[in-house]
């Protein structure tokens, strides 16, 4: 699936649930899929600045494609970063850079999360984009 296809998949998935608690349950389940964060990367250097909960994001380039390890100490935040990594990860840095990053609006996160949490999503998106930028020059 392309980045855009995945964005549409998650948009549809979140819109499928009317109830906010069901949406949260969906986020929770996405987070549970992610159990492979290498402990040696649980360092301050890999924390995403600007998130109220701790979010670790570690880039790894393999065969010219950029992927990420990720984790968070909060369940719902973890679900969010796992979704973002699934959307943007395993793509060439240049393709990530050219993708849609306006997901707060696309996913209607303002009605799902508090402003503090939404700021955290902006911070995660910015970090993903920053990594893509760095690796696009390598």
């Amino acid at each position: 699936m392309s980045i855009q296809d995945k964005i549409i998949y998650y948009k549809d998935s979140l819109e499928y649930f009317d109830d906010t608690m069901e949406k949260y349950k969906f986020l929770l389940e996405q987070g549970k899929k992610n159990n492979n964060f290498p402990e040696e990367y649980r360092k301050v250097d890999f924390l995403v600045p600007g998130c109220q909960a701790k979010v670790w994001l570690v880039p790894k380039l393999y065969k010219q494609k950029l992927n990420f390890y990720c984790d968070s100490d909060a369940f719902l935040t973890k679900g969010m970063i796992v979704i973002l990594v699934d959307i943007y990860g395993s793509n060439k840095p240049i393709d990530i850079l050219n993708a849609d990053f306006d997901l707060v609006k696309t996913f209607k996160l303002n009605s799902l999360l508090t402003p503090g949490r939404t700021n955290g999503v902006y911070a995660m998106l910015k970090k993903l984009k920053d990594y893509a930028e760095v690796f696009s020059k390598k």
Partner: protein
């Protein structure tokens, strides 16, 4: 509890099921305060102090009557001891700036504690960089979440030039034992500032009895407007301190060569003051006084005890701070669940509480906790609110499991 009190707060007309447990951050506003502000802006407003015309002189009189009201509220020697600021933070900055500039040099020490809100840490750190004095942090007792008085005693010495402490912690709710504190500081005659932001809305405060040099609080935690703070200052400091800010109102005469300053509180109130905010604060003082602060303290203590009894039965819940003498603030963590997840899920049940570090990062670091959830009580809370909080926490534990 106060019967029918929610009727006094318009927000509950709009949202009768709201469980508001974030009074320590800012209290909800009663109708009489909102009405007073509306009335003042609508029919009474003009700039104060030097207007000859009726609107200005009438509002000046009303403004100064409210200064008197504040003085009586905290039992100050006189309303002349009350300086109006824009916030408690500004009140602390004023004292810090004026005191450090005149009295502190390298080798001197000031004492604060690990319990402090950032507003009582950062100004001292900025001043310390400038004047070279040392900031000494008093330890806390980690199990009670209260000030370690023995540590305070040990840290006071001939180099200690100032003590600035919270009167009630905004995280653990512990109330500072000022009697013991006063005994410790009298040997060296060390000036004392008490940060009363959490205290004033929940208990009677008597600055003469507290024998502090400075007492600060804000309006917005006292059911009043934001944008207004109070600084009580003992007489002797008015002459000793240089002005904090320059501008209109704080002058005696201004020439192109030099300025002479007004005396008393005016010297520290540069510019147009927060006029309507003070009028609103006066009404909020009427509000809490009509309920009686002794009664408020009793009710909130009862509610706190009820909450402790209920919440401590929840297996995975850990209450932060068990001081014997504390106000209606209950911080907690739930094992394996991040406080932000707690707040988001409780918000779905219309329960408003705060999570994070509550502007007290050093305290959280000391307690080795990243963040906490905090339920704090006001006059509008009832046992029913506590029951909803209890059920909400049980539900969220089940949800994440």
């Amino acid at each position: 509890m106060f019967e029918n009190i929610k009727k006094e707060f318009p927000v509950f007309e709009k949202d009768p099921e709201l469980v508001f447990l974030d009074t320590a951050a800012s209290s909800l506003k009663p109708k009489i305060v909102i009405d007073e502000i509306m009335k003042c802006y609508s029919y009474e407003y003009a700039n104060i102090h030097r207007g000859i015309y009726k609107l200005s002189s009438q509002l000046t009189t009303k403004y100064e009557e409210n200064r008197k009201k504040i003085g009586k509220f905290i039992n100050a020697e006189s309303s002349e001891n009350i300086i109006i600021t824009k916030s408690a933070t500004e009140s602390i900055n004023l004292v810090c700036s004026c005191f450090c500039q005149k009295y502190l040099k390298p080798g001197d020490e000031i004492i604060i504690s690990h319990l402090e809100h950032h507003a009582n840490i950062v100004p001292w750190q900025i001043a310390s960089e400038k004047y070279g004095f040392k900031i000494i942090f008093v330890d806390i007792n980690p199990s009670t979440g209260s000030l370690d008085l023995q540590d305070l005693k040990n840290k006071i010495n001939e180099n200690t030039k100032f003590i600035s402490l919270t009167h009630m912690s905004n995280v653990t709710g512990s109330i500072t034992d000022t009697e013991t504190l006063n005994n410790y500081r009298k040997k060296y005659n060390i000036p004392l500032l008490l940060d009363g932001c959490q205290m004033v809305a929940h208990s009677p405060v008597d600055v003469k009895n507290l024998n502090c040099d400075f007492y600060v609080f804000s309006g917005h935690k006292l059911y009043g407007p934001s944008g207004i703070g109070v600084l009580y200052m003992k007489d002797k400091w008015f002459e000793k301190f240089e002005p904090y800010q320059g501008g209109g109102s704080m002058i005696d005469q201004v020439t192109t060569d030099k300025t002479t300053f007004a005396k008393g509180f005016q010297k520290f109130e540069a510019g147009t003051p927060p006029i309507v905010q003070l009028i609103g604060l006066g009404k909020s003082i009427d509000f809490v006084s009509s309920l009686n602060l002794v009664q408020i303290q009793k009710c909130e203590k009862e509610l706190y005890n009820y909450a402790i009894e209920k919440l401590s039965k929840i297996n995975k819940l850990n209450i932060i701070g068990h001081s014997k003498n504390k106000g209606g603030i209950l911080s907690f963590t739930v094992q394996d669940i991040h406080p932000q997840d707690i707040a988001l899920i409780l918000d779905q049940k219309n329960i408003a509480l705060r999570t994070g570090q509550h502007c007290a990062e050093p305290l959280h670091r000391k307690l080795k906790i990243d963040s906490t959830a905090r339920a704090s009580f006001g006059v509008y809370n009832s046992k029913n609110d506590v029951d909803k909080l209890h059920d909400g926490i049980i539900n969220l534990i089940n949800f994440f499991n």
